[in-house]
Symmetry: none
DNA sequence: AATAATTAATAACTATGGGTTATCAATTGG
DNA sequence: CCAATTGATAACCCATAGTTATTAATTATT
């Protein structure tokens, strides 16, 4: 009375259901026959159903027992899988890593990372979302994101940052613009044009860097439009609404009618960094961090 | 070492996972806190994964623990149902089929189905529960329901859907409303009245259909109230808070002071569908499916 | 800064009940 | 009719779930 069903009962039941012989089943389970008999009887009482028909010389399953046998096999299978999966997740060799990125990181850095991780941990999955610097930092802090690819100088307490790539800057012009690779010597040559820039979000380091490129060459750019998405900026340039300065690696992967001219003789570099939360509890992140 | 996972561990784990507090969880389980602590620790050793993070002042789930919690809830549900089914089968029943339905399906379709099944399989039992579209889909997916009667256009992967009835729409008016069978020619006649509608849940197909009936006749209804239950809608209409458009079959089975006027000259039909899960393991469902 | 009140973990114990051995009653086969 | 084999019963034992008492660590209160 008041007993509780346990997996032990299921194990014993399956053995008897397969052997259809209490002594043999008991042997297989390395327990004594009376012990087994009693557990099965208890099980029948708990469930409230007769599972076996014993007529002193042979044992057979009832219809209810037949049904239960199928289900228990399924349940055990499910539990085994779940337990194994749980251990894998704990060890980080399975699970999901949520990545945020600026458009300019998707061309080179991220694909390389994914390939390397996939080689060693093929069961780790990724979710990718293009986000602004600001949103990434917020999402990292609130544990909605595991890794962010940003262009920032400072991050809040508890967030780690590591520089992983430096890039040169390029001037982006409409395809039919007069300037070309040979004639382009300095950004000062476009000092009178309108500029399309990335919005300054969270940290203004990126925005300021581009301003300083111009100021170093003796002029302050006239900013006509701002956007967070590279695609949009290129479209604006293509439409003749201005010129832009962006990291050089952005020239790959888009199919637009603009030309890139790498800017010579400047000290500014576009630095791409990875960020993650120090006490992030996703074990899969540990594995991925090795590749950063 | 050499210990075996038991359902007891799962029960205890769930209690701690829900309370996130060892003492409170122990109280709920009517055992002592140290006993619980030891069982959880043992469980972590057996599985080979850290399930909780205890830092002396508060307890939280690890990612692996989070995963396990979800799965265990599912496993328990499955075991409970299996045990109940086994007992039912033992008692000569061929099992239970759990049915969910929208209020508007109980008048005609479900009684017909039950009678037909009962003729051929008098030993199959039914449990019936009125539920919203959304709740039915959720319950079907999590194996808490075998069959649902819904008004939906799309269902998630793994769920089957079959249209089984089309119905006309009727306008529902207070008993003393001026309009009657003879004078009612078009819904446009009530374009200035307030409308009481079914809430749009999960899929908005049903809601949109009613809106389109009005729009086809050249007006947008003023929606003053929404409800999921037919009974409530009728009560609101009766009280003079608005008029309603519902499937015609709803006029039977309620005893309210409202009148139904079938809407003429419209193309919209109210389609009722049955849904069930593709890999549902309830053998009684197989037998019932033939009658759908 | 000192004290009180929390938390979960440890240690040592107690007793429930799973598992044991010994035996029985029933069936079958030579 | 006796030997052999079946599962069930009865009485015992001991592993371990669960107990009480205590500790270590942390936070809140004075």
């Amino acid at each position: 009375m008041g007993y509780q069903l346990e997996l032990r009962h299921f194990t014993y039941f399956l053995a008897v259901a397969e052997e259809l012989h209490f002594r043999k089943a008991a042997e297989r389970l390395f327990i004594s026959q009376p012990g087994l008999s009693r557990q099965i009887k208890q099980m029948e009482e708990i469930i409230g159903a007769e599972l076996f028909i014993r007529n002193k010389r042979n044992v057979s399953l009832t219809v209810a027992g037949e049904y239960l046998k199928k289900e228990i096999a399924y349940i055990f299978n499910h539990i085994d899988f779940t337990v194994k999966q749980t251990a894998l997740i704990d060890k980080g060799s399975e699970g999901e890593v949520r990545i945020g990125f600026l458009g300019s990181a998707i061309q080179t850095v991220i694909p390389e990372l994914l390939v390397k991780v996939d080689e060693e941990y093929p069961k780790i999955q990724f979710s990718l979302e293009e986000m602004s610097n600001y949103d990434q930092v917020k999402a990292i802090v609130s544990d909605e994101l595991d890794i962010g690819f940003v262009r920032l100088a400072r991050v809040p307490d508890g967030v780690c940052i590591k520089e992983i790539q430096t890039d040169t800057f390029s001037l982006v012009l409409p395809k039919d613009h007069l300037l070309n690779k040979e004639s382009f010597k300095s950004v000062a040559q476009v000092s009178s044009e309108h500029f399309v820039l990335f919005s300054s979000d969270y940290s203004s380091i990126y925005y300021n860097k581009i301003m300083s490129i111009c100021e170093d060459k003796g002029f302050t750019p006239i900013v006509s439009h701002k956007s967070v998405h590279a695609q949009t900026i290129f479209k604006l340039v293509e439409s003749g609404l201005g010129v832009a300065i962006v990291p050089t690696s952005l020239q790959y992967g888009f199919d637009l009618n603009v030309k890139f001219l790498e800017i010579p003789n400047i000290t500014q570099k576009a630095e791409l960094s990875v960020i993650w939360k120090e006490d992030n509890r996703n074990p899969a992140l540990e594995k991925v961090k090795k590749f950063l």
